[in-house]
Symmetry: C2
Subunit: 417 residues, 2 copies
């Protein structure tokens, strides 16, 4: 029996990579003063049907539960966030700066190894309309990438402003009820045949192509955004690109996507402002400006893997985190009970300790100590009531009386964290 | 719009509790030399249909996906573990000591606030038939509880041995194909009307009742188990109770469940040996002895909440983890750009730093500094190019030149972890 197509097992090695990614995500979000929250992975299908655009609903894992409710595995977090904020916003001072790390699901056609689940970091700021929040959010996104050792030579944040396009549509006298559809076409530009785009855009095709070619986006808002990131020394990560509009229907202002500079991968992260979504999902009961981004573990992991300095940093962090502190070598089985009593004490003090569950040759025990990355091995044998302490790095050995062992170790082995 | 019945939102306060539980779980499992892994939350329904007994299948969230596959949200981890181990065991030295922290789902009838999802710690040892592994596993389970401040006065591990009952059935000349069904009846003893139990047990009723009343279980194996836990100073957590058989069909040997001493809650944790499951799920391709336990976050959380010393310890840990390091007070808006440049530097050094996104009264900024638990506030105002450093605990203030700020802080504010 196998996993379902598009789903992953995380064996210890893959789980360590995933946990390293989670740890970096959490660490940087907390440096920015963001607090963690989480929503359910199963939600009413309606939460997505109404607000996220048509494409996402086609790709839902959805079904009727035993209580005849239409339910879906969440494809994204933002609708849940909007629901939660609409229900609880009075309990919190604004702006909220919230982040979340969780799993998301899409029934995508199986192609190019695309998965049907992935993990995402979501970071959102709720209740602040000022551009300062957009700058803070983009800076956080960049610093998360930098935490993995990725530099402005490895990644680029392409930024645009949906208002740039809505202003453009207004100038072109396009009725507002067609804007969403037109934004979808621009979002797909370059990903579908040009004739198809021309056909969909009609008389707008020429001015849209001219705008995309010209770069455009020389707006005061975008200039201030770049200036704010320059103050933080992050401007080299940024490019204005009005071709970025984001696929989801709910964005209203600044939008951005992160790509690898080499252009090998899909977007690493993406986000923007969605000032109307909370109002929509609460039927107007709560109206709060909001913005956020999501970064997935899959494309990020692929990019780290193919970026030697980032990969090296990750492997080093994982190798050091995997290590145990102490391996107990039981050289004489008569000493097993004594060893177990001390193993208990060592673990209670926070040391990571391993030992052979059953009688094992001493050489194989030392081999295990090495493979597990133990910093010291303690040998319980003929020396009892003394214990032999072997420093695994230097191979130096010393004897310590068993009742003074903990003090001896404290000097030698600092705790893993 | 609301969450589905039985599903939880984790607002920051609840998420902090959940993360505290995860951190303790992970910390103790790693002290025992267990390594982390994880499986998919969606699996083929067949994985559960065949091996876990009838009750669990009735309670599955299961459906047909768009590729016409029968799939289910996982109700438990053990079948996934057996699948993964059967596929990959050659890559690892035995015994495996693996743990996992993840979410699980059951469509239970809505009653007494029962949830339809919860998180579980799963710890398993694969490839070791010796009782030493059972002792190690029970010790780990106890030490996980102790990490939350729970003592032998708060919790009890009830231990039994399925072999005790299979020996008993053999003595009573019961055919082996009825054993599973009889174990289910014993598992439900006390939870359904006595007449119903009598009816199901037939002529076995009297001897079973006598055995349950007598305590029984005075076997050599159980005695050695207790001796092993006594060596570690953990015997006071243990009670032999042959009434414990565990509901799931796949257990084969030692089984145990953890309860609060006051008997207020359902089981906090449970597990045991399942020596045949990996063979069953791999159609005999791989046969490995195995054992494990699972501990859920819900009952554990309730018990911690109602145990004052445990609750206090948790609240203290959470409060200290929630704090930021530094709050930036922008007293003059002309200094905002200078402040932002230094915020960037401070965050790069790992400090948790927050600041007002928009112009805010100084008094309100200091209030925010206090609410967020900042250890120091840095004031950017008329003193520039000096920065005022305020120790939030002592209210002491000093001035530091902006270009020497980092050195000043290093002495005052150690990093949060």
């Amino acid at each position: 029996m196998q996993t379902l197509p598009g789903f992953r097992d995380f064996l210890p090695e893959q789980c360590a990579v995933r946990n390293h990614i989670f740890a970096c995500w959490r660490e940087v979000a907390r440096r920015y003063g963001f607090v963690e929250w989480e929503g359910p992975v199963l939600e009413p299908t309606d939460l997505y049907k109404k607000k996220s655009g048509a494409e996402i609903v086609e790709q839902l894992f959805h079904f009727k539960d035993k209580g005849d409710r239409e339910v879906a595995l969440r494809p994204e977090l933002t609708p849940t966030l909007a629901r939660v904020v609409a229900a609880h916003e009075r309990e919190f001072k604004k702006p909220l700066k919230w982040f979340s790390i969780g799993q998301f699901f899409r029934y995508e056609k199986q192609q190019r190894g695309r998965l049907r689940e992935h993990f995402q970091l979501n970071c959102d700021i709720i209740g602040e309309a000022d551009l300062a929040a957009d700058i803070e959010l983009v800076a956080l996104c960049i610093d998360v990438l930098r935490a993995f050792g990725l530099s402005e030579k490895d990644v680029v944040v392409r930024i645009s402003d949906r208002e740039f396009w809505t202003d453009f549509f207004r100038e072109q006298n396009m009725p507002a009820d067609r804007w969403d559809e037109l934004l979808q076409v621009i979002d797909k530009f370059g990903r579908e045949p040009r004739e198809r785009t021309v056909e969909k855009l009609g008389k707008l095709a020429d001015p849209v192509f001219a705008t995309l070619k010209g770069g455009g986006g020389n707006s005061d808002k975008l200039n201030r955004l770049i200036a704010g990131l320059r103050e933080r020394g992050l401007a080299d990560f940024i490019e204005i690109d009005v071709g970025i509009v984001r696929g989801l229907a709910y964005y209203t202002g600044i939008v951005f996507e992160v790509f690898d500079r080499a252009g090998k991968f899909r977007a690493i992260a993406g986000g923007g402002r969605y000032d109307n979504l909370i109002g929509l999902l609460s039927d107007g009961a709560v109206s709060l400006p909001a913005l956020g981004f999501a970064m997935g573990d899959v494309v990020l992991g692929e990019l780290i893997n193919e970026t030697p300095h980032a990969r090296e940093a990750m492997e080093k962090a994982i190798a050091s985190n995997r290590k145990i502190d102490i391996y107990i070598v039981i050289a004489k089985e008569e000493r097993r009970a004594d060893a177990l009593a001390q193993i208990q004490q060592l673990r209670e003090r926070g040391y990571r300790v391993d030992y052979p569950l059953t009688p094992t040759k001493v050489a194989r025990q030392f081999q295990a100590a090495e493979e597990l990355g133990a910093r010291v091995a303690l040998l319980y044998g003929d020396e009892w009531p003394q214990v032999k302490i072997k420093n695994m790095a230097t191979a130096e050995q010393e004897l310590a009386p068993q009742d003074r062992l903990l003090a001896h170790l404290q000097a030698q082995v600092s705790l893993s964290s």
